[in-house]
């Protein structure tokens, strides 16, 4: 580039001759040069801005176009790297502890119609009614010939029905694939599994959602596509569950009870091996909940975790165990149980107004003396009693993993007076579920550690904090064993399986207040085998009456105990327990001192 000089000699000389200031020429030239420089810089900046603008425009156009395309197009799986073996994104299966299926999915179809495409609506309606007799022909014709563009006809149809509808051959009748939740074992463990139904429904698929029980509690886990191939393993054992339901049903019918429940729990892990509640239902065809009347009359009612009952004398062992634990008494301490005994202006009586006189603590449990346990409770005191029962979990709903369990909140006295303390020591005034009782007895059975009842298979013992010493637990078990050998639960003697347990007979409270004369809840809480406790079994019968004698009998010893004994006889071999000869109990001998 040729640079224009700032002081061109010709013009300077010319200016000097004319007497002008040559500096003016230099200034003028400088100005022109600066203007040129400015214009050039401006051009370059504008050019850059333009290029940048075009770049941004292109980028935004591409992004916008892509977004538009994504929004408009049908979504599709990335074809290049589709998942490997786990393709079905359906709800995960539920199995028992040995891998037997309890709940699975089944592909089926739903039937819907697009009336605009129907060739002959009336014939189609007539033929449909032949296939599905529960449909109404007039209603179908009205729907088919009306203004509707779409209607569901059937939610689930079998392959045979589908073929029959195919044979009608009307293009307006269409099928939508559906995943159906199937419970192959029918009513087995119905209350635990709960049931499932459809959530959002579309033509191509429908959500399967859990509506009750474990299906609802673990809904998120079961619906997570990542768990599609990993079944939910429960702690239940299918065989034991079937056997205990069978025995319980027989027992309920024999004892003329209106309901029954049984819980079998591993005392070290807290795993519930079987839990039955009768009457039950078929989760494949879940009945509707009752809209009126007592909820416990519905087969949907789960007595094991929702039935909040006063469980009667089964509670006495807790008072005795705590008294031993605190060092107030031992199993041989003599307590005067003779009456009258008045607490807070209320007379404490015995069953059939008996009077047992002076009894040892063990004999109080064996004879189930209300006044005896009441005296122990008074010695223990209100606060310590509350603390002990709270540590055993009697103040909160059980953590059992089905949705209904959170509703089984124990009923506690609003004011815990001395009278409450005494009545609670023999199982009145505090209502809890049989599941609470199972957890409480498990602590005695496993040597004094709290376990939480759980529905999931565990890998090893899940022992919680200690609530009583090994020694106390052993003494409590010895007392419970004596109940069977010498006391109210003599029917629980099963050769080879030493059962220890406590009966409980509680009058049912009237909804209007007070108690029924002839309606009882009978419970037998047991531990077996006693020389090496492995399981806790709770059997509760609702309004049983045993009528083989001249007078109807309503005590637990005559109703719940034989049922529990039969259950142990049936399920202990299934659990792999071999019958044993009872070892000579030398625990009593070691307690006595030689000097």
């Amino acid at each position: 580039m040729i640079r224009t000089p700032l002081r061109p000699l010709a013009r300077i000389l010319d200016a000097r001759e004319k007497g002008e200031n040559p500096d003016a020429i230099e200034r003028e030239n400088k100005r022109i040069r600066h203007e040129q420089m400015r214009d050039k810089a401006r051009m370059r900046a504008e050019g850059r801005l333009l290029v940048l603008g075009v770049c941004f425009l292109c980028a935004f156009t591409v992004i916008g176009g892509r977004m538009g395309l994504l929004a408009m197009s049908e979504p599709s799986e990335p074809r290049g790297h589709a998942p490997g073996a786990v393709i079905s994104a359906s709800r995960a299966d539920i199995t028992d502890r040995n891998g037997n299926l309890l709940a699975t999915n089944f592909e089926t179809h739903a039937l819907y119609a697009q009336p605009r495409h129907l060739i002959d609506p009336e014939v189609a309606a007539k033929k449909l009614v032949k296939i599905f007799p529960d449909l109404k022909e007039e209603r179908l014709i009205k729907d088919f010939t009306g203004k509707r563009k779409f209607l569901w006809i059937k939610k689930k149809i079998s392959p045979e029905q589908m073929q029959a509808v195919h044979d009608i051959g009307d293009p307006g009748l269409l099928f939508a694939p559906r995943d159906m939740r199937l419970y192959p074992n029918g009513s087995l463990a119905a209350h635990v599994l709960g049931g499932a139904s459809y959530g959002k429904e579309g033509v191509h698929a429908a959500e399967v959602i859990g509506v009750a029980g474990a299906e609802k509690y673990f809904d998120d886990y079961l619906r997570d596509p990542a768990n599609g191939a990993k079944p939910l393993e429960l702690s239940l054992d299918l065989t034991v569950q079937a056997a205990s339901e069978r025995v319980l049903y027989g027992g309920m019918k024999l004892m003329n009870a209106k309901g029954a429940t049984s819980i079998l729990m591993d005392v070290h892990t807290g795993e519930v091996i079987s839990v039955a509640s009768l009457p039950d239902f078929d989760p494949n065809n879940r009945p509707r909940p009752l809209t009126q009347g007592d909820a416990s009359d519905s087969p949907l009612f789960n007595r094991s975790v929702q039935g909040v009952y006063e469980l009667g004398s089964t509670f006495k062992i807790f008072a005795a165990a705590q008294a031993v634990e605190l060092g107030l008494f031992n199993a041989d301490t003599i307590i005067d149980t003779s009456g009258p005994m008045k607490v807070g202006g209320f007379r404490i009586g015995e069953f059939r107004n008996k009077n047992y006189g002076k009894l040892s603590v063990a004999d109080i449990i064996v004879h189930s003396s209300n006044r005896g346990t009441g005296r122990m409770a008074l010695e223990i005191g209100i606060e310590r009693q509350q603390e002990f029962l709270k540590s055993l979990g009697f103040f909160e709903p059980t953590p059992f993993e089905i949705v209904e369990a959170s509703g089984g909140k124990p009923l506690l006295p609003s004011r815990w007076t001395e009278l409450s303390s005494v009545t609670i020591s023999y199982g009145h005034g505090l209502s809890s579920t049989p599941m609470h009782l199972a957890a409480g007895y498990a602590a005695i059975a496993n040597g004094g550690r709290v376990v939480k009842p759980t529905l999931l298979k565990q890998s090893g013992p899940q022992l919680g904090p200690r609530v009583m010493s090994e020694e106390t637990a052993a003494q409590a078990r010895m007392m419970l064993r004596k109940v069977v050998t010498d006391g109210t639960a003599s029917f629980a003697e099963v050769p080879g399986y030493q059962i220890a347990g406590k009966t409980g007979t509680a009058d049912k409270p009237k909804p209007t207040g007070g108690y029924y004369e002839d309606k009882v809840i009978n419970t037998f809480a047991s531990i077996f085998p006693i020389d090496n406790p492995k399981y806790v079994l709770i059997v509760t019968l609702d309004e049983p009456v045993e009528t083989s004698g001249p007078k109807p009998r309503r005590t637990a010893g005559w109703t719940a105990v034989p049922v529990a004994a039969e259950m142990v006889r049936r399920i202990a071999p299934l659990l792999g327990l071999r019958p044993a000869v009872e070892p000579v109990n030398d625990a009593v001998l070691t307690l006595t001192s030689s000097n």
């Binding site: 074809r79 393709i87 999915n105 199937l182 074992n185 079937a242 071999p573 019958p579």
Partner: protein, 128 residues
């Protein structure tokens, strides 16, 4: 020189275009193969699920109990009972094989060629 370069470049472009064309079709073929296989796997999974459900349904405890009752005459199946546990020594194991027959007419056997014989055997085994 320049002409040669033009020709070579053109040939390279044509060659690459042909390669890309073939790769494109090979990829599409592979994708549709994968799709078909996935569909097969899906169908097999569905069939397996149905079979598992069928197995569980046919083996449900109620049905097995009814079958055991129906076929009681032939099978005589009863629920497991505590009395059915036994001791190991109650198991009738097969008798140990009786002792060899007494040798009444002994024959002298030489062991001189024993090593050679066993060696021959081993080599045969190796050969196999």
């Amino acid at each position: 020189m320049r002409t040669v370069m033009y020709i070579l470049t053109t040939i390279a472009v044509v060659g690459l275009a042909f390669w890309a064309y073939r790769e494109n079709y090979a990829t599409q073929q592979a994708l549709s193969d994968a799709d078909r296989l996935h569909a097969n796997i899906r169908a097999t999974h569905a069939r397996l699920a149905v079979l598992r459900a069928e197995w569980a349904f046919q083996n449900r405890p109620d049905r097995l109990r009814d079958l055991a009752d129906l076929n009681f005459d032939r099978l005589g199946l009863l629920p497991l009972h505590p009395g059915q546990f036994g001791q190991v020594d109650q198991v009738a194991y097969p008798q140990p094989p009786s002792e060899l027959l007494p040798i009444t007419d002994p024959v002298d056997v030489s062991t001189m060629n024993y090593d050679a014989l066993t060696g021959a055997d081993e080599s045969e085994e190796d050969f196999e």
